[in-house]
Amino acid sequence: MPGRRRETRFLMSPPWAGSLQTLQDVVVERVAKSDIWVLSSAPASRDEGMTLELPRPGGTVEMKVRVAESRPVVIDERVQHRVRLQLLETSEPDHGGGSGNGNVGN
């Protein structure tokens, strides 16, 4: 079976607790006062809390968001997912020079 690990495995008993962060590239379609619409290749679970990292001049704006809606759409003959994110909290860019709020694009 391809993709199976061939190296020695250590079985955890009891299992180790951990956390993981996943990154998904998205395209920001629209920004309203408290909602952000993005296009993603993966669906999102409603009510899940996430962080949207948006590159801006002078740093990256981090926005705490919650998934309000996720719908599949066909764009350029590909199935994508239009996700509406509800803005909860915005942090300033790491290195100054940008605003944390407002319109992020076209």
């Binding site: 079976m1 020695t8 250590f10 299992p15 951990g18 962060q21 590239d25 999102a44 962080t51």
Partner: protein
């Protein structure tokens, strides 16, 4: 790691961003090349991210790619997720594979700390790590009991 050239070209100037999700997981087994997790949420194959584990007070990190994700039958919304570690970080003290290397080393240095009662680790292959039924010092396995799973037969 975050290449967005293709997306940028296809989306006519709309800004790209990264959507970061966090999830709590349980590590079922681990090797130098990857690990098997249980999670309450599913992950798409190919998803990349960072795994963080705290073992004996030390935080270990490793970047990964999701190799597979299957739902566990009869366990509600529980998923088994296979991760493949990416060699995107130097093998520093905080790298998870550094911790795994220590596990391997512990298995080979078996007879230290005679004051503690020994714990026996069963292995089925002599050529994996050390000898079968290697005796481990109890202090080495105070928080985690470890056994060795041989690779599945016939999978290379």
């Amino acid at each position: 790691m975050r290449t967005r050239k293709q997306d940028s070209a296809k989306n006519s100037g709309n800004p790209t961003a990264a959507l970061v999700a966090e999830a709590s997981v349980n590590v079922v087994d681990i090797s130098r090349g990857g690990c098997l997790l249980e999670s309450s949420r599913a992950f798409e194959e190919g998803t990349i991210g960072t795994l963080e584990l705290v073992v004996a007070g030390q935080t270990y990190l490793e970047d990964f790619k999701v190799a597979r994700c299957t739902a566990l039958s009869g366990r509600g919304s529980t998923y088994r997720v296979g991760l493949e570690f990416l060699r995107t970080r130097r093998s520093a003290a905080t790298a998870l594979r550094h911790a795994i290397a220590q596990l391997v080393a512990l298995n080979t240095a078996s007879s230290a700390l005679p004051d503690h009662p020994p714990v026996t680790i069963r292995t089925d292959r002599r050529d994996v790590v050390g000898a079968p039924d290697t005796v481990w010092p109890a202090e080495s396995v105070a928080t985690v009991r470890v056994s060795v799973i041989p690779p599945p037969a016939g999978n290379g």
